[in-house]
Symmetry: none
Subunit: 408 residues, 4 copies
Amino acid sequence: MTKFSQEIEVSGHLIDSSILTKIFDKIMDLHGEFQVEEINIGKKKKDPSYARLLVTGKNQKHLDEILETIHREGAVSKIQKGILLKKSPKDMVMPDDFYSTTNNHTQVFHNEKWIQVENMMMDKCIVIKDNRAFCVPIRDVKKGDEIIVGEGGIKITPPERPREGVNVFEFMGSSSSSERPTQHIAKKVAEDIYKTKKSEGKIIIVGGPAIVHTGAADAVADLIKLGFIDGVLAGNALAVHDIEYATLGTSLGMNVHDATLAYRGHRNHMETINAVFRAGSIANMVKTKKLTRGIMYQCVKNKIPFVLAGSIRDDGPLPDVITDVAEAQREYKKMLKDANMVIMISTMLHSIATGNMLPANVKVIVVDINQPTVTKLMDRGTWQALGIVTDVGAFLPMVVQQIKKQKR
Amino acid sequence: MTKFSQEIEVSGHLIDSSILTKIFDKIMDLHGEFQVEEINIGKKKKDPSYARLLVTGKNQKHLDEILETIHREGAVSKIQKGILLKKSPKDMVMPDDFYSTTNNHTQVFHNEKWIQVENMMMDKCIVIKDNRAFCVPIRDVKKGDEIIVGEGGIKITPPERPREGVNVFEFMGSSSSSERPTQHIAKKVAEDIYKTKKSEGKIIIVGGPAIVHTGAADAVADLIKLGFIDGVLAGNALAVHDIEYATLGTSLGMNVHDATLAYRGHRNHMETINAVFRAGSIANMVKTKKLTRGIMYQCVKNKIPFVLAGSIRDDGPLPDVITDVAEAQREYKKMLKDANMVIMISTMLHSIATGNMLPANVKVIVVDINQPTVTKLMDRGTWQALGIVTDVGAFLPMVVQQIKKQKR
Amino acid sequence: MTKFSQEIEVSGHLIDSSILTKIFDKIMDLHGEFQVEEINIGKKKKDPSYARLLVTGKNQKHLDEILETIHREGAVSKIQKGILLKKSPKDMVMPDDFYSTTNNHTQVFHNEKWIQVENMMMDKCIVIKDNRAFCVPIRDVKKGDEIIVGEGGIKITPPERPREGVNVFEFMGSSSSSERPTQHIAKKVAEDIYKTKKSEGKIIIVGGPAIVHTGAADAVADLIKLGFIDGVLAGNALAVHDIEYATLGTSLGMNVHDATLAYRGHRNHMETINAVFRAGSIANMVKTKKLTRGIMYQCVKNKIPFVLAGSIRDDGPLPDVITDVAEAQREYKKMLKDANMVIMISTMLHSIATGNMLPANVKVIVVDINQPTVTKLMDRGTWQALGIVTDVGAFLPMVVQQIKKQKR
Amino acid sequence: MTKFSQEIEVSGHLIDSSILTKIFDKIMDLHGEFQVEEINIGKKKKDPSYARLLVTGKNQKHLDEILETIHREGAVSKIQKGILLKKSPKDMVMPDDFYSTTNNHTQVFHNEKWIQVENMMMDKCIVIKDNRAFCVPIRDVKKGDEIIVGEGGIKITPPERPREGVNVFEFMGSSSSSERPTQHIAKKVAEDIYKTKKSEGKIIIVGGPAIVHTGAADAVADLIKLGFIDGVLAGNALAVHDIEYATLGTSLGMNVHDATLAYRGHRNHMETINAVFRAGSIANMVKTKKLTRGIMYQCVKNKIPFVLAGSIRDDGPLPDVITDVAEAQREYKKMLKDANMVIMISTMLHSIATGNMLPANVKVIVVDINQPTVTKLMDRGTWQALGIVTDVGAFLPMVVQQIKKQKR
């Protein structure tokens, strides 16, 4: 086994700049092994630390992969090899396997000496000339330039984190991004839901009315019908819009199937509220066959509990809505007890409310088109949340399609 | 063909307020026909215009559809029919086909007279009692109330567009924008507040907790102290954060004066809630000198009423919070009665709630750093709002500085 | 008083396209006076209307101000003066007081005839040559060109608003919104593309790299392969990311199919750029079978022209990129000539650039997850754009799926 | 000294879940001292680690502060004290100094045993009953409930980070927030600029045209005039808008001082471009006294170099603009050499371009009202950036005001 192992060293503020954390991370991400052979943590806060690890891969290629990856985080092989150089084949072309730079302070081991790379920038190559090393953009590469290839002989020093004292640079938290492959994420979320359910997990949906506006109500109703959802937490608006859509085909007067405005559609919102009041409750509407489809219908029919919390902006609100928020909180908490996964869709109000009630180990997925909504939830302490910035009307149907594939 | 035609009249600033445009639009959208039988455009800009159209539908139902639609834009049938009334079948239930209100000035033709609907709001019904007409929310409908059904006998007057003279309300384009000269807008808003107050206008603030996080609490407290504000509508969070800041100097544990985290600051939020519970109420905290500054303090001291509406995400909530949202809505409405100007700051929930309660002629200013928040409010019908996309923490102190200059 | 008055005429769909509204507005904004001397509203909806107004200013300068302003809204002086011309003093310099264009259909009165301005774009000047009128950008002005100065002799025809029939371009309200039924909108956009192509229309795509990050590259490549696209306008990043994805399966080092980070993936971006430099061009990569799929491949294979405009943030940039932006603008304009539909996807830079080059009657669809991007484009004058706030990675695959259904 | 020290222990995945990092951080943030007395890092990745530290404060109060803070991160005092309990004085009131919960797994040391707190949620108190511990919200507290006070006897277990294998929960990066005290941040940025300059640092501004639209051009011009800026990197638009504002008082035709539209203001943008072409260059406009104020003027007058990079969306572009982007990149890089601080204002294009050219140790401040702009820059590798989500038009004048105060 020894032949696929190598010793590496790393020094600096290993712990407080998270350097060791990142190196351990990378090794594990690549399914490698490591042993801590020696570690000296600076006894006082200004002392640098030192660690020596034995890194092991499944084979030489695997080990090389791991080593090259952790080199970028500051690890240095105990037996230092020099850099390899190759000539540029023509102007503005780099040799195969050229070393692509980071923007960190970088040294290269050349002629038995460490030399510092000048003019450091990211995504460039390194040219060696007269025992000096230069960071060079592709358009400035000249035929014959000596360019570093591979990852050997390179030492990167990650920047120390700024420390102590009030610093305006400390305001960084965690976030989410809209620049991810959406179809893949939909598949992953589908898998997560599927697996959680298969292992008898409890899944709760927290949803806002944009589910209906964006045409995703059928997807959510399907999820409930298929047995993946154990409870729905929402407000008055989701229920009203869902029932308007289920009974009249519109959402706030707009025909959801073709986005035209319905004749007298402005009435439909209030018409719906009136219909529920006339029936006495949503369950009664289902019993009397006035409500035969949609999210609320599937809840009633499949005996999936729901809690509708009142808010100051409610129209109506429906008789099913708990208008006292202290009481509504109690019901929310009951529903969330022992939940394994909570999916929050397009509602900042109910998402933050729910986030406050959850222990940190519950999986939370937040889906919203508005990035600040997702950020705010995380800022308020629900930092375990996975934020997905996407269009609910396009994303949820994808998730349901994927779940149906899993089922087969 | 004549039997499916009807003459309608419309008068007012038909052209410069786009009333005729909208009526023509609606007829064409519904595939109806029209002939302009008479049109008198005011010769000078202050003269009202008059038009008489013959509107034709494919059949009676089609014609009725068209007529009802254009009634909402201000058209009035030449031969005026009275309103139809139907009794409410039970408490909180409106009869079928009830007329659902807009937020425009509305008159109804009853007993051969036009009477003006009182307390106008959108998405409500109209109750007739003792020859008076009232706009009534569903929860306040009593069994036996006489409620208008259908669209006959109703005359709507769309608001005139404001004209001439530099007015902060003229910045409205297709939407709100962050690309405007901020200092100038702050000055204009300051002037607007100053003038509204000078002419004895009623100004209400609707605010969220970001006022405190962004360091604008002192500015708002100043506005109240200086006598510009007649009421504060908010939720639990604004009050809790304001009192945390006033008593402990922090907002969610962060020292507002230097953005550092306070020692044991995580407790301060709950510590504050406990302090109010111990005192029994915010007013008692002021009375016992536990609370000596800030927004809530200035309200209590200057006898400016406030309403705190509960929400599902509240911590506590404070004893002053109205946890029943239906009750809170009633108190919000009382506060908003006869308001001339409403300033909504960093709170989508309370802003939309308030927007729904306001007639279209009340000046509304919405300040938020998040453009979609501003857009959503307008999309929901509060189209008269002036949206200002800015950083509340920088903008409000500017406004207050400008108002103080005006005062001198 | 008469000497500071002038009669103007205006005709067309004065009321339903709000032309008269805008003219009245402008006069009042400038504190002018007007009298309606004659008005004929088309008796039926297809009949054009005509109005003659007497416009009065405080003095000649004031009157001129008013007249020039309302000329831009379609008003024409009764006694028509010809245009005034002045020679350009040197290359790339326009004479003082040159007329600056709108993007509306424009005619000029020259040698007692109305001639139509060719190649209409906004913010340019008009050059007269051989009794023809050309809209010319400043960089193309040659010394001695005859350029229109002042506002006399110019007639603008504001676009008629599109009317009747369900059209995806009717969704426009005060702005764009994320609260629309996404699946339906995808279907409508698909229909629009399909119909435009069926009637031999020219469709141009303007795209940014998020197409690749979000996993929508296959959808765009499909659209090209299926023959719906007549040209691609982009920058360096789209091409680099597309080729990285096509050759290495990653986008900035992230495997697009499962969102994991590729081993040594950080190199892939620069590796891709180097590969294109080595081949000499994208077309050469296709010829030598190094590039066998993706957006750029489909362009080359199907002989669909593309223009890649350089920008200051480019890595590389690729040899195919036009690094001189003035030259790139010329190529963009050539591509856009006679386009019937332009689809802008996730790129503010290229979308605004393209928007500036388009006449107001070209259909424009803007797709972006970030609402301010969409708003900014409209604010900059491309008000005819349909803004769709959605997740490109979910939306484009839906559109392509719908188009394939249409095809069958 | 020993009496103000205490030994603490911590165990678990200390390094890969960053627990040790956070404990070191907190001690240093509070200006405490520590010595690592013993550390055992798990030799293999599944082995837990253990550390024993000696923590030292300046006095007992200081030490207690530190201990209580690190308890929340999982540290446990070697000599374990039991919890302290106090009775609730009345319903819905907690005793002073009650322990306020986190949402992490929590145990309490009571009657010589560790018991686990049930129903864990954040921001609640803990009630002990029948040797069980419950997390209880304030409204459910009953008079006489035994509630934990102080921080002793409590052990928190921070959650392990999820590890290994593709997990959709890994997408979290760094970000910025709009919920910070703006005035304080303005002061900090001012201090940072002031200190950097005082120590002869090089400060570069990267700016977009929104500086002018939002009325912040005077602030930036002031900064240059006062000698704080060593170079300006921008595009065509900033220069054109600045000169339009400096010469005509408008920005895209809008009067910046009062936000009204200027008469014939639509021409001003092109008029400005023409004026620069006529003069031949910006420097010539200054020389011939056509340009006497603003950002570009101050650059020329104070010999502060600027580089204007062309882009595909430029009008003109001005003769000073480098239209070849490869050349512009070279000039940008020259300007950025040895910069100590780069302030990026309202321009995604130039900010990302500049970010790519900077080594990781340069201070970067990004100011934009649009959060995704800030996030994108960080996502692209400029992770050292401080993102400030604010309104440039309000923020920059504040910064300049603060700098002027520093100067005195």
